[in-house]
């Protein structure tokens, strides 16, 4: 029950930050949401490091092993933080955290049980030996460096899609 409220808060805050968020309950729904987000995207990087990533239905001819040239990166992230609407991207398990940064689209899958209520609950338990890289990602890449006009996607992704599983 409490976790439901946490998930709702995460979805609300991630949406406010500019992410496109959907919630799914099974692998079929996951794959159909993914297909919608990947419409007309023809080079997808997905590392296949987790069980969820291995069940993703991405056609072989659309896949690429080089995230630098990919149009989209689809991956399961370590978790999320409801308070700020952030994804937690971690280098643990051999993940290339920068893979979610270079393509124009980043589609992140997060398991509902891995969503932390607030920053303290995640960072407070990270301890003194964190993974080499932990990045909190909140909304798409942005800048307001020219006349404070908000511009999305300056170096990182223009589009951030989140699928809560």
């Amino acid at each position: 029950m409490i976790q439901d409220a946490v998930v709702d808060l995460f979805i609300e805050n991630a949406t406010k930050a500019g992410a496109h968020v959907v919630r799914v309950t099974n692998v079929e729904e996951l794959n159909s949401s993914l297909a919608g987000m990947l419409d007309r995207v023809n080079s997808v990087y997905s590392p296949g490091l987790t069980e969820t990533e291995r069940t993703l239905d991405i056609p072989a001819e659309c896949r690429t092993d080089d995230y630098k040239d990919a149009a989209a990166c689809v991956e399961e992230v370590h978790g999320a933080i409801a308070e700020t609407g952030s994804l937690i991207c971690s280098s643990r398990g051999g993940r290339a955290v920068q893979a979610g940064l270079l393509p124009r689209r980043h589609i992140a899958i997060v398991s509902a049980e891995n969503i932390f209520a607030d920053l303290d609950r995640f960072l407070g338990d990270l301890g003194d030996s964190p993974p080499t890289n932990v990045t909190l990602e909140t909304g798409p890449s942005r800048t307001a460096d020219i006349e404070l006009t908000l511009t999305i996607g300056v170096h990182g992704p223009e589009h951030l899609g989140i699928i809560v599983l």
Partner: protein, 454 residues
């Protein structure tokens, strides 16, 4: 460097800045927007409680600075980084240059860092023949314009879209546009090539975590992440007071920094970098060198303006300051502008060079009210003004005037005499034009206020 000892011509710079209507409009728009966004961002959170907590952590660090810096160094080394200590700017520049040389680096990408502005790193590296590319859009704009940042968060705040459009067309040879979205796209394409071909990345750090040896970087564009993860070599330059005790303290600052800086709940990216890439990992630089810069901090921390070192460089005091809002960042002629810039510049560069900046405050207290870590800026500004008088860096006329006022204020008879003299002297003074500022001052009343109420 001989000109260093000369004082900054702040009055002259400011006088020129206020005559620049375009600059004033840009500053009004920017500082106004940021102030409003900040107010919204803190409206429904317990901001006073957060400020107090963060202030306490920063004070605790300053009380035990050496210990925390040593702990940070130990843990960063344990995580795979190499840590270098630099006493001053020259030493830091030398260390960075030697590291780049040893790795055979020719091209360096940089993420926005005020500390590398403080030590004038880019000019130095370019003189050694390196190509240095700033990758934050604002920094990139001012780099190709060959200017300096005018705001610590948005460096090109003084430039209009028209100016940026002209600049890009001229320097990058692209089609002219005034659309920020198009301009950002041009920069994205241009800089992506640079990221992928750079030999090294240089960054600063917003925080250094003692307990885990981690560097923490806040960015919105993603360029900071690219500079620190794509090249084989990452060199981070930071000053020693950036240290915080542990990752458990980080939420306090994550909540305050973006809200105070840009009015965001959170910047798009917060990267926590702990050492180098380890066996079986696919992220992280192969070589991480951290340059810990003192540059006067050890002296400041034992002096009576030590609380300045609590500063987390959010820029809120710049946006809140009526002087900064009017004259913009360049008038200060220093790396750091605005209220925090005045105090820090006097402390870092000395009274002789920076005493003129102390004119750039109205003592209204707005800077102190917005500071997320409760740096007592109004008190520090007053303290430094007192010091300026004590050392004797004020104009003779001002000193004489103050002695006169002191006498008059201490004796009612003298005071009344002074009022009478002021009335008598008014017309001749205006006619002869002694002090054009008199034009803007009202004529002293025939019956003084004190007489009217007694």
């Amino acid at each position: 460097m001989g000109a260093r000892s000369e004082s900054i011509p702040f009055r002259e710079n400011a006088a020129q800045a206020v005559r620049n209507a375009a600059l004033r409009a840009a500053m009004r728009n920017a500082t106004g927007t940021f102030s409003v966004k900040r107010s919204h961002a803190i409206a429904s959170v317990p901001i006073e409680e957060w400020r107090e907590l963060a202030s306490q952590v920063r004070l605790h660090v300053l009380d035990n600075l050496e210990e925390y810096v040593n702990r940070f160094e130990r843990n960063a080394v344990k995580a795979g980084a190499t840590v270098h200590r630099a006493k001053d700017a020259a030493a830091a520049r030398e260390i960075v240059w030697c590291l780049l040389k040893d790795h055979g680096a020719r091209k360096v990408v940089k993420s926005k860092s005020m500390i590398t502005e403080e030590i004038h790193l880019n000019d130095y590296l370019e003189r050694q023949g390196l190509t240095v590319v700033e990758t934050d859009l604002g920094e990139y704009i001012i780099q190709i314009a060959r200017e300096h940042p005018s705001h610590i968060i948005v460096p090109a705040i003084h430039k209009s879209r028209r100016q940026v459009g002209n600049l890009f067309a001229e320097k990058l040879g692209c089609e002219r546009s005034e659309d920020p979205v198009v301009l950002a796209k041009i920069a994205r394409a241009k800089l992506r090539e640079e990221f992928l071909s750079a030999d090294a990345g240089i960054s600063g750090a917003n925080f250094a975590v003692a307990g885990s040896g981690s560097l923490v970087l806040f960015t919105n564009e993603g360029n900071g992440r690219m500079c620190t993860t794509l090249p084989e070599l990452h060199v981070a330059v930071l000053s020693i007071e950036k240290v915080i005790p542990s990752l458990a303290d980080l939420p306090k600052f994550i909540r305050l920094l973006p809200r105070s800086a840009t009015g965001q709940i959170l910047s798009a990216y917060v990267s926590i970098i702990s050492g180098t890439r380890k066996a079986g990992e696919a992220t992280g630089a192969r070589h991480l060198h951290i340059v810990l810069l003192d540059n006067g901090r050890s002296d400041i921390v034992s002096g009576d303006c030590r609380e300045m070192l609590k500063c987390i460089r959010c820029g809120a005091c710049l946006n809140a300051c009526p002087v900064y809002q009017t004259v913009g960042g360049h008038a200060y002629g220093s790396t750091y502008p605005g209220p925090m810039g005045i105090v820090l510049t006097v402390l870092l560069e000395g009274m002789e060079r920076a005493h003129t900046l102390l004119d750039g405050t109205t003592l209204c207290g707005a800077c102190g009210d917005v500071c997320p870590v409760k740096v007592p800026l109004p008190r520090l500004l007053r303290r430094l003004r007192e010091q300026r008088v004590e050392i004797g860096f004020t104009a003779a006329a001002e000193r004489l005037g103050m002695v006169g006022f002191g006498l008059a204020a201490r004796s009612p008879a003298f005071f009344e005499l002074a009022q009478k003299l002021a009335r008598l002297a008014w017309k001749p003074a205006r006619i002869t034009g002694i002090g054009s500022t008199l034009d803007r001052m009202p004529m002293p009343a025939t019956t003084p206020f004190r007489k009217r109420i007694s």
